[in-house]
């Protein structure tokens, strides 16, 4: 701590110099990787949407500019819901809904893909806080359960299939956990109903 007065300026300048060099290195690095990262991000996002859109072919998806539906809305969850539209050759072929189910341990974020025929093309969990080992079977990596929605529509009747088997519906529950699957089933069902109303409205 014995540097003289000149040290104040000198030190400051040196620090500035270090900062400049550091900034230059990083900015250079950024230049080199920028595009690849952007491509990665794009690919990851696309993969997610592709997984919920299943076999539905599409060429454009407005994932940067979804329609945001602020609560209160008739979609599941209290948070703003997002609706993305997929087009193929200019025609809208499907919608992807980002909604929330009320799980056991908190909200479960879901992507629900629904095609123009009001058939579920796929469902994926984006994030959740369910109990590991109990509620976590909704993850695609852990079980196939989430694919049991694929290809289902509202059905002819009043929608009684949209419940767990033990409640008289068509979906399995997990051992020791009914709340989580029930919540997901209900959320997908509500989304489907909403999609139907959207189709009907315009």
């Amino acid at each position: 701590m014995s540097a003289n007065r000149g040290g104040v300026i000198g030190g400051t300048l040196k620090l500035g110099l270090f900062a400049a060099i550091a900034a230059a290195i990083v900015a250079g690095g950024w230049r080199l990787t920028d595009e690849r990262i952007a491509a990665n991000t794009h690919a990851a996002r696309l993969a997610q949407f592709e997984s919920v859109l299943g076999a539905t072919a599409f060429d454009t998806l407005d994932y940067d500019a979804p329609t945001v539906v602020e609560p209160p809305h008739r979609l599941p969850g209290d948070a703003p819901a997002r609706i993305y539209e997929a087009f193929n050759g200019g025609a809208r072929v499907a919608r992807v809904f980002e909604v929330q189910a009320a799980g056991y341990g908190g909200p479960i974020s879901l992507l629900v893909g629904i095609d123009a025929a009001l058939v579920v093309t796929g469902v994926r969990v984006v994030s959740h806080t369910e109990t590991p080992g109990l509620g976590t079977n909704i993850e695609r990596e852990r079980s196939d359960w989430i694919t049991s929605f694929d290809g289902r529509g509202l059905g002819d009747d009043d929608g009684s299939v949209w419940a767990l088997k033990r409640d008289g519906g068509a979906f399995d529950a997990f051992t020791g956990a009914t709340i989580t699957p029930r919540a997901v089933v209900e959320a997908v069902h509500e989304t489907l109903v909403y999609a139907q109303s959207m189709e009907a409205a315009p």
Binding site: M1, G11, T12, L15, G16, A23, A24
Partner: protein, 173 residues
Amino acid sequence: MDIVSAIAVLAGIALVAGLALTLAARTLQRDADDVVERINAELPQTQCAQCGFPGCRPYAEAIAQGDVDINRCPPGGDATIAALARLLDRDIIALDASLPPPAPPGVAIIDEERCIGCARCLPACPVDAIVGAHQFMHTVVEDLCTGCELCIAPCPVDCLEMVATDDNAERAA
């Protein structure tokens, strides 16, 4: 272009920060005396210099400076290390292996028959516990002696000897 703005932003922040810090460092000098006192209070005050410093306080200063470990005082032994560790929130470590192990507390006594009154032991004693004049028999004031053994070596006729102190329990009572 973004490289330039990156450099500008970061260098700008760095300049401000650097200026503030150097100035602060200059104005806010620390005052370490308090620490030295509290460290010194934990040392046994035997003043034996085994720690490599000419007494307890110099050792305390060195600790406060961060120059040495806290495990260099044999008379204090593990208890002192523990006390210092607690004071400074450091790990308790074993006594430095290069130092002699702690000896039982003792005091020096002078064999009065043999003492030739050379007075060489007088300046050696860090606490002036030896009384006597040149050419006269010397004696150690037992209550003042810290048992540092510094007086043993200077005596030309080996008339000083360490004896273990009697039960400190009784002395305390």
